[in-house]
Symmetry: C2
Subunit: 204 residues, 2 copies
DNA sequence: GAAATTCTGTCACTCACTGACAACTGTCGT
DNA sequence: ACGACAGTTGTCAGTGAGTGACAGAATTTC
């Protein structure tokens, strides 16, 4: 028996190590850049062996993007929670804006975005991670469209576009020189996205 | 002086080495898979040193995607050549379908697609390469929209979506079990893309 | 043919990442 | 409290990607 609510010492220690690694990595990445930082440096900063680093994260990209992962999960949950009947793009817009607004208070979030936009390796890794969750997104999109993702390819199609589009959209917006709260950027990016693909509009 | 029309021996030799490397790499990738193939094996197959390999290509992904690069270039040229006034998505559809149709006779094209869809590392690398040409695409999109990409963020936004969307769309379609000529896949993917994002349609 | 270019191979190195094994540290039953 | 057990960690050794430096070979130019 035992745990009076909290987990055992072992669990707590692991969580602390993990957090410390994320923290140290993030700091070093911001200071020296992603590629210029070595695993050895990260491990040394936390006083663990480099081997241990790889027991917590599968790669250098993995530490950097562990925060982004939480965010993707949050967006998907929010997407699932949008009222039925909403167009897919509209629902995703609402989900993304909501989550970004919730996160933008944290300083680490902004610096992570900056990190990703500067490092092609990180940007690629993020896309790769997104692709790994393609089926999950397709399921949600399929549910919203009222079709079975196993039989109809459209949900997968739309899902892959949404996955690829959301993040670059914000980055592109920022690259264009607009500086504003992330949540606003995201919303406007979606607006322009919907309008821009049909430009000049085929119908009205 | 000299070159009676053909380039010098040195140039020809370089071109041949380059082609041989692409060829050997492609064959090995198809036989053993992308990650399971080492640079040493590729180099040995062509009888050059591994160091020389890196004088022709910057990475393992680079050899694999050298063919895909030609294709992207072709698509962009075709996109630029579409009649003005066409909606951006429509123009890109026509460009992509045309190019894919032109390429699908080559066997290597199909196997490259298969390779990419199987290897996350390759898929990520392709996105990365596409992103490197973002500005180029944005220029073309901006021209079609009649706005200045330097002042208006929309072209960049639309460009990044187009870049990210085109290839995954085809892959997703194929993953859904549809087997048909690439050109048809591409066309249908675009059709569903346009419809799916607005599903259920907001207007009409 | 000699000199200047340009390619190429060899060597030595860094860094990401992995398997194996031994030492250590919480955990749990008694 | 103690010992068996399981999970965690460090060390070691190794593979593979990718890079800089230098010397020698091939090509081009004169």
């Amino acid at each position: 028996m035992v745990n009076g609510g909290t987990d055992g010492l072992r669990e707590r220690k692991k969580r602390r190590t993990r957090e410390a690694l994320i923290d140290a990595a993030h700091t070093l990445f911001c200071e020296k850049g992603f590629e210029a930082t070595t695993i050895d440096e990260i491990a040394e900063a936390v006083e663990v062996s480099p081997r241990t680093f790889f027991r917590y994260f599968t790669s250098k990209e993995d530490v950097a993007l562990s925060l982004a992962d939480e965010q993707i999960t949050a967006v998907l949950e929010a997407f699932a929670g949008q009222p039925a009947g909403l167009p897919v793009l509209t629902a995703m817009r609402a989900a993304a804006v909501g989550v970004v607004r919730a996160y933008e208070a944290e300083a680490r979030f902004g610096s992570l975005q900056r990190l990703i936009s500067v490092s092609p390796a990180l940007a690629a890794a993020r896309v790769e991670r997104g692709a790994a969750r393609l089926d999950e997104v397709a399921r949600l999109v399929g549910a919203r469209m009222g079709v079975d993702p196993a039989a109809d390819p459209r949900p997968h199609l739309v899902a892959s576009v949404l996955l690829c589009a959301v993040q670059p959209a914000v980055v592109a917006w920022r690259a264009a020189g607009r500086e504003a709260p992330e949540s606003e950027l995201t919303g406007q990016a979606f607006d322009l996205l919907a309008a821009g693909l049909d430009y000049p509009a085929a119908s009205g």
